[in-house]
């Protein structure tokens, strides 16, 4: 299996890739730090990856996306599976008063992903095969005062993915929306860990399972599905009074 990973240094992505490496996958790893990509490459190679090609780039810069994908497919062959995992968690308080903060968060978490997906969808569509697995978030299911800038970017992404899935279904291409809850990764280092936090390995196994099953939307761990169902069902008049 040929797998392209955008944001390959993400803790969640690494956990999933380890499992695919054990199955002898071939990888294109894209991320913005050469040292870190090398560290991930070494790990996946020991775990059984056949080939690992790295590509060092800032993924929020959309101007290079087409070229990166072109070169990546030339290096390892047409992608069977793409995992888009990069993201940033902005400081909500700063983003409330400084538009630039909000803009950057929305650009990285939403717009730049749309750019990658546009290019990837074109290619997979003509091949009538492939899976696009993209990490969104439960935070995108409803806007909350503590996290709505990030939530809006992920919410926009989830809606975009639903539409893309609808379109590509008819072309034989699968689109998987991954919605993690709380995961103990560098991104959440500053957040106090409650009982709902899980280790990246749990997410990795969940992503691999969802891809294997050909799922459309995967809440990970599963218990976030009923939790988010309840959160979405609260009437807005009540919800706006809550402190969430």
């Amino acid at each position: 299996m040929k797998i392209a990973v955008f944001g390959a240094t993400s803790a969640i992505a690494q956990a999933a890739c380890r499992i695919w490496a054990g199955r002898g996958a071939e990888f294109l790893l894209a991320g913005r730090s050469a040292d870190r990509l090398e560290a991930v490459k070494g790990d996946l190679t020991v775990h059984g990856a056949q080939t690992v090609v790295v590509c060092c780039c800032d993924l929020s810069d959309t101007s290079r996306h087409a070229e990166i994908i072109e070169q990546g497919e030339r290096a390892i062959g047409p992608f069977d599976l793409v995992l888009i995992a990069y993201g940033t968690l902005p400081d909500q308080a700063l983003a409330e008063t400084d538009f630039l903060q909000a803009q950057n968060a929305i650009n990285t978490n939403f717009l730049s992903v749309v750019s990658l997906l546009t290019e990837l969808a074109k290619r997979m569509e003509t091949r009538h095969s492939g899976t696009l697995a993209v990490i969104s978030s439960v935070a995108g299911d409803r806007g909350r005062q503590s996290n709505y800038v990030y939530g809006a970017a992920k919410g926009g992404l989830s809606i975009y993915l639903a539409g893309l899935r609808n379109r590509l279904f008819h072309k034989g291409v699968k689109v998987l929306t991954i919605k993690p809850g709380f995961v103990d990764t560098p991104m959440t280092a500053a957040i106090k860990k409650g009982p709902l936090f899980v280790k990246p390995a749990v997410l990795g196994a969940g992503i691999v399972r969802a891809v294997d099953r050909g799922s459309d939307v995967a809440y990970l761990p599963w218990f976030w599905m009923p939790i988010m169902w309840i959160i979405r069902s609260i009437p807005e008049g009540v919800f706006k009074r809550m402190r969430l």
């Binding site: 803790a11 040292d35 870190r36 560290a39 790990d43 020991v46 009982p195 936090f197």
Partner: protein, 435 residues
Amino acid sequence: MDDYQSWGRYPQVTQSVLGFNWRGDKLPTLSGKSILAQGFCRSYGDSCLNENNVVLSTRALDRMIAFDPASGVLRCESGVSLEQILNLAVPQGWFLPVTPGTKFVSVGGAIANDVHGKNHHRAGTFGRHVRAFELLRSDGSRRVCSERSDGGLYAATIGGLGLTGVITWAEIQLRPILNPFIEMESIKFRSLEEFFQISADSDRNFEYTVAWLDCVSSGSAFGRGIFMRGNHSRSENDKTRKIPGRQKLVVPLDFPAWALNRLSVKAFNTLYYGKQVAREKKSSVYYDPFFYPLDAVLQWNRIYGKNGLVQFQCVVPVQGGHQAIREILATIVASGQASFLAVLKEFGAISSPGILSFPRPGVTLCLDFAMRGERTLALLQRLDQMVAQAGGAMYPAKDALMRAENFKSYYPRWAEFAEYVDSQISSSFWRRVSR
């Protein structure tokens, strides 16, 4: 509940936690605060804690770097767990050269406590199998230490309690196995004399030896237990034998304090000893239940409730006779405070490379005490004194209250070691024993 406290949950401290996630990262610079690398917090007392200061968690530093299945040499980051190593190496015919009683410890933690296992008499400590490691110091320097290069720092870091720098990666020599099964025997013994007899008989022919000891019963049952010994299976048939699946249990909450009382512990000991009817029993088992029986119950430390537990592990010499260990055991039995997890083993004579390593020739006894305040502390202080008088040593990985002066007698080379301690690194344990 992952709150970066130690396994015994005593003492509990306030400290900040930062992640050390990539081996190329710099150490954080903090004004006026010290740092301490922290692995999986499987140390019981305060050696992995840094009260009012900072711990650097290595849990995301868990990548493999290189593995040569022909020679069994593995290079990995220091936050890699022994479980990860087993998952990678066992299917390729390799095993840990030394393993403690849980696989949920990091390579960095295994080096920093120079851990030992059931094969100490054969293989010595974990540190003996560490060919090299990289040490990141607070001045920003990175040194690759081995016996040959930077030998002083190498010897100080093995068993060095995290105080000499942060280990970023290490290279370990694994040992070959034919299959993942262990041929084991268990033998009941009725007294300490019998234990020493069986132990002496077993050391020659068995790679792994350890005993479970009843620390509750007195009178004619004093010193009884079950001796377990084993070897890696050499049977060709075991290569294709089915690997048993294992169910994991989790203790989701702290048990109430009354759940473990004298009666329940006594009942456990009687049942456990009585469970094996025959004096000798042979079986062939998968490595996991043989080495890691407790790992089947995740977070078992919560059985002790929110007050936690304190562990006690000492080693005392046996050349002059068994009087010291007998008296220590008698004191424990008389206190009525022991719990059901007590382990007895004879260490061998293979010396450790570490300046501060704990294992040394003698017999080691290890057990838990539910933390019941003053009377538990008083008992442990008394035991600490007895160990010091016997010319033995207590194990920092399991300790929350050895006296500073006793530490210095247990580890006579401590001043030589102190020369290697990084000026920006400290721990609750170190402040307690080095004052």
